[in-house]
Symmetry: C2
DNA sequence: GGCACAGGTGTTTACGCAAACATCATTCGG
DNA sequence: CCGAATGATGTTTGCGTAAACACCTGTGCC
């Protein structure tokens, strides 16, 4: 391993990848010409290009991204920070961002954040900030606080499904519209009012859904019931559902996501209250399972793929210096009516 | 990318990050000393180290991973290739691998693969192979064909939830045990035989579950019904469920995952066949919603976190040259009995 | 007091690539 | 037919880091 010659080769791990110099030697050109071919520059003779490409193939050459990043200052990578990917919406958004990024020639540097604490988000940022990404997408970032994250102003950031009040570019569903359509649907069926099983208090998406629920009820002159909070999980929906099931005046519930709606319906069923005959339930997300719940769930469909594409587009705008594009984008959700909602029983 | 236009778009961005040299200048030491501090070497005087750390903090210094990777040949990154992250199991595994990797100081380079074709997997590999990762984890990789993937032998690879027959290290659930326990549970309840709603034909995990179902039935001397295939989705479970519901002899179904079981139960319900009184149903995965299905699903729980940790461990063994560790690991699943299974009605 | 030795630090070099610049051969307008 | 513009290629340089090596100082030992 360690040879003791005059100017010895280094005792590094043996070179397993050919470099531009190797390709250049085989093709009988300079390494710069190899670089030009590698980067698809136009000013290379067709015959020369062929020679180089052949040599690349022979040696199995692949450009070294580290060296390229070092010299260009660009990494071809987008960082994605997300909370629990076990949550349906987060996973879908991640997948959509990844797809869109790949189409744009970027890879995804993923950081999962377990705890919803600011320190955890901070740490994730710090990791990604080691200059190894060109920009960052933050999914479900209710803890985001602009002032405490020491981001260099030059680091492009897009927030998906988060607070629209901060300084970063933002892509989100039109939560207000989604909540409004669900609540209006229920009121239109003849319910006197609509209860609300909300998401966690520190989620902006959840808060916006709650606000829209409130204003819709107020506009309709319906009484405003107390808000009950879950944590997005089916289990929390079940717990809250047990409380709601105990109140006979509850005939309609607008739930902030599908998973909680599932738990809610389970609790109602166990308490002997039928959905939709006794209680109507709506969800939010339209996860792929929602159509097969018992009963099939009326819910608000979100187009996660579109969100992913928008995120990447806004991020690339920043990365490539096109800051004239829109900084905030909203994706319109659509109400999907299924079997979990009906007119209240005449009682 | 014909960027024939102006020669300007490639102008190098202004230096926005301080380098070692900047820190060294401020601290009044050589850049090599900064390097030593940065890498936590011991042979640095305590006072000097303090000076350097202070300078780093003042300048907001962060080591440049590209430069470090260039010189060390290591990237501190693990590539993860996964199919649809909308599928519960894949998302959970991804999250677990990401967590385990972060604990080990590695970041995750994620590549989603839309189409389950060999070409798509190939392309994902090629992307990751641009030397930007130290190893690769492949999730749900039924299409994996060792001979056609041109991996350098030195690229560490671990396959999760895939074929145990190939040359790569492997972490998987003990599918046979899981299927066996579910089928045995159903037979033990008094069912004459157990039908099987299987996963896609090209999934090794699905095939192993099917095989184990078959051998368990044979060992019990139970008749062997025809196998019906879904594609993991609730929708496919619903379609197959309509067929099964039409056969009165079906009293118990072992389903290859929870989502299909949901669709199946929906179809049974619509056909007027009650679960579990008329038909018992088991799932596989124990997704967090399964306990709130109607009825709550008896299923086989998989510990995805453990799989993720094992994957990272096996991968690090290879990356760091410790190839003496185990190359294959199995994680034991556990049967969770809930309300979707019961003894057949005396008919 | 000399001498080996170790710990602390600085100097040089190379990693692989692409930008900037240099060189040479063409082509074309007048 | 000359001089300038254009195109194809080679040469030099530097990105930020860590390894290898050189060089100091002080210490302990005889």
């Amino acid at each position: 391993m360690t040879e003791k010659k005059a100017r010895t080769p280094r005792s590094r791990p043996a070179r397993q990848w050919p470099s531009m110099a190797d390709v250049a030697a085989l093709a009988g050109v300079s390494s710069q010409t190899v670089s030009r071919v590698s980067n698809n520059r136009t000013n290379v003779d067709a015959a020369t290009r062929e020679k180089v490409l052949a040599a690349m193939k022979t040696l199995g050459y692949r450009p070294n991204t580290a060296a390229r990043a070092l010299v260009t200052g660009r990494f071809g990578a987008i960082g994605v920070i997300s909370f629990d990917v076990g949550a349906h919406g987060n996973a879908r958004t991640l997948g959509a961002v990844a797809d869109a990024a790949r189409e744009a020639g970027f890879s995804i540097n993923f950081m999962g954040v377990r705890a919803q604490t600011e320190a955890a988000v901070q740490e994730a940022f710090q990791h990604l900030m080691l200059q190894s990404v060109d920009g960052i997408v933050l999914i479900e970032s209710q803890m985001l606080d602009t002032t405490s994250l020491h981001l260099p102003p030059s680091m492009p950031v897009v927030v998906a499904d988060g607070d629209a009040g901060h300084a970063y570019a933002n892509v989100d569903f039109d939560q207000a519209l989604g909540a409004h359509s669900a609540v209006t649907h229920l009121l239109g069926l003849g319910h006197r009012t609509v209860w609300h099983l909300a998401g966690p208090r520190d989620s902006f998406a959840a808060r916006r859904r709650t606000e829209s629920w409130r204003t819709t009820l107020e506009a309709a002159g319906a009484p405003l019931p107390e808000v009950l909070h879950g944590d997005w999980s089916a289990e929390s929906g079940y717990r809250v559902g047990q409380e709601l099931a105990a109140r006979p005046e509850v005939t309609a519930v607008f739930t902030a996501n599908d998973q909680m709606a599932l738990g809610l319906m389970r609790a109602l069923h166990e308490a002997g209250r039928r959905v939709p005959q006794d209680v109507s339930v709506t969800g939010f997300d339209d996860m792929s399972e929602a159509a097969f719940f018992q009963p099939p769930l009326t819910t608000v469909r979100q187009d996660f793929d579109l969100v992913g594409r928008h995120c990447v587009r806004l991020l690339l705008d920043q990365i490539e210096g096109r800051s004239d594009g829109p900084r905030r984008m909203a994706v319109e959700p659509a109400l999907v009516v299924r079997g979990s909602t009906a007119s209240p029983a005449r009682g």
